[in-house]
């Protein structure tokens, strides 16, 4: 489904990935995270080839995916979901505490909901939990797949702010979005995908003013 995609993300950057439904954004994300085996090409992280590694190895290398459908553990409490987020890293108690603190600072509502089952949270809260869970492994690179999907505008706005905070705290983020307006407003660079290929790339400002992008993704 993907065909000669080439993109790079620098350390500390927030890069966005635009494209319509079915353009291959999710597949790309899942391939990087190791859920889908690529038939060709290479994925390089910190000068090391991580192509074809299993998902659990990739998490250990510092890449965490917050997937499109969240994939939480619905019948486990919120706190357990978070602790499982750090499963791959074998952190000691002290580091775990730091991780919880960071997550709760970012999303205070999760502290209140600590003992509640993840499946009973509202859509927005679930999205926050999914992001927080991905952050628990202290990733260098966070892959965010459609975090705004199906959420109310107010919640989307809050998520947008949180993403900015995450980047500010030093995590590199690759954000995939259908909602190009939001994505371009916070990212530094962006790529546009169509039927499995990257068709456009550039810094966010120029992408935002590109007439094609405006017409196709910004609805202007």
């Amino acid at each position: 489904m993907l065909d000669s995609v080439s993109l790079e993300v620098m350390s500390g950057e927030l890069v966005c990935l635009l494209g319509a439904n079915g353009a291959g954004k999710s597949t790309l994300m899942r391939t990087i995270a190791g859920l889908v085996k690529p038939s060709g090409g290479t994925i390089i992280l910190d000068c090391e080839d991580i192509t074809g590694l299993k998902a659990e190895r990739i998490v250990r290398r510092g890449v965490a995916l917050c997937p499109e459908n969240r994939h939480l553990f619905p019948r486990l409490p919120v706190k357990k979901n978070l602790s499982l987020g750090a499963y791959a890293k074998h952190f000691n108690v002290k580091v775990m505490e730091e991780c919880y603190d960071f997550a709760y600072e970012l999303f205070p509502v999760l502290r209140e909901r600590g003992e509640q089952l993840a499946g009973t949270l509202s859509g927005g809260e679930q999205q926050m939990l999914a992001i927080a869970r991905a952050l628990m492994s202290k990733p260098q690179l966070l892959l965010l797949d459609e975090p705004s999907l199906g959420l109310a505008p107010l919640v989307v706005e809050s998520i947008r702010e949180k993403i900015v905070q995450i980047v500010a705290a030093g995590t590199t983020v690759l954000l995939s979005e259908q909602n190009a307006g939001i994505a371009l407003s916070i990212s530094s660079r962006g790529y546009v995908m169509e039927s499995g290929r990257v068709v456009l790339e550039g810094d966010s400002e120029s992408l935002g003013s590109d007439p094609e992008v405006k017409k196709a993704y910004l609805g202007i």
Binding site: K54, V59, A64, H71, K80, S83, K89, M136
Partner: protein, 285 residues
């Protein structure tokens, strides 16, 4: 009234075995979505191993039990590898693999130990009498040991890292992979735990009755009824369902009809599923 309690105790005894067997099945179904129809045959094999150790080799009962459980934890690892190629295929493929497996096991046991019934000497034949109830000590041990095993399993799943990994994979396999849990390893672990539990149940209950190559055929059917009733993949459902079925059966023998004792459970299941298509306790879909 004491007759009622007598049959109730019988039912709880039966239910203990059902619960232990159903627990393993539900764990496996939760992790892999595999209807492990050969599970009962590993129970049978466990009983024969205890028979072999204690009767042919004179190993003391409890030592035989521990050895059987340990051996079957390893056997579980092997089972996982047989299922691995069909894990993501349709339900029925795994089912057929299970049938193939159970044919091999049953005939192997027939070849080694013959087709007839065998008996393991009851290690605790002492008869207890209290409140009008009479039962052998071994039956009480089955009930007690089942509770201990269930509590241990609960602690394992709720309190340990590996236990949480099992729950995570059962609830969302992709989510589990994303947080760095190796689904393959968890699935091996699950088969190991489940098969060990079956062997434990067999070692406990086998001295009370006959052991035979086809002893587990109805047992495995009932275990399936239990886990469907409790909601596929639900641990709580398997435990409650197991005891419920055991008690129901004993009371059916006592008050309705011994001949139809096996029917009530199955009929109840059909009715419950017609009303609640995902089982009494919900469960995954």
């Amino acid at each position: 009234m004491s007759y009622f309690f007598q049959q109730l105790v019988n039912g709880i005894m039966l239910g203990s075995v059902y619960s232990l067997v159903a627990l393993g099945l539900t764990l496996i179904f939760g992790i892999l979505g595999v209807a492990h129809f050969a599970h009962g045959h590993f129970y049978m094999l466990g009983a024969f191993l205890v028979f072999f150790l204690s009767v042919s080799f004179g190993v003391p009962y409890w030592a035989a039990l521990v050895i059987a459980v340990a051996v079957f934890c390893l056997v579980g690892v092997g089972i996982e590898f047989v299922y691995r190629p069909v894990r993501d295929k349709s339900d029925i493929n795994a089912f057929i693999v299970a049938i193939g497996m159970l044919l091999v096991i049953e005939e192997a046991v027939r070849a080694v130990w013959g087709t007839g019934n065998r008996r393991i000497t009851n290690p605790y034949p002492q008869v207890l009498k209290f409140a009008g109830i009479t039962l052998e000590l071994q039956r009480l041990i089955v009930i007690g040991a089942a509770i201990v095993l269930i509590v241990l399993l609960h602690l394992f799943i709720k309190r340990t890292r590996m236990g949480s990994a099992i729950e995570a994979v059962a609830q969302d396999r992709e989510g589990a992979a994303l947080v760095g849990i190796s689904v393959n390893r968890v699935s091996i672990l699950t088969f190991s735990v489940a098969t060990g539990l079956a062997a434990a149940a067999a070692a406990l209950a086998a001295p009370l009755a006959f052991i035979a190559p086809d002893m587990a055929n109805t047992l495995v059917l009932k275990a399936f009824v239990i886990i469907v009733l409790g909601g596929l993949g639900s641990i709580k459902g398997a435990i409650l369902g197991g005891y419920l079925l055991g008690v129901m059966e004993a009371l059916a023998i006592a008050y309705i009809s011994p001949a139809y004792k096996d029917v009530w459970a199955f009929a109840a299941l059909i009715l419950i599923l017609a009303i609640k298509p995902n089982g009494l306790f919900g469960g995954r879909d």
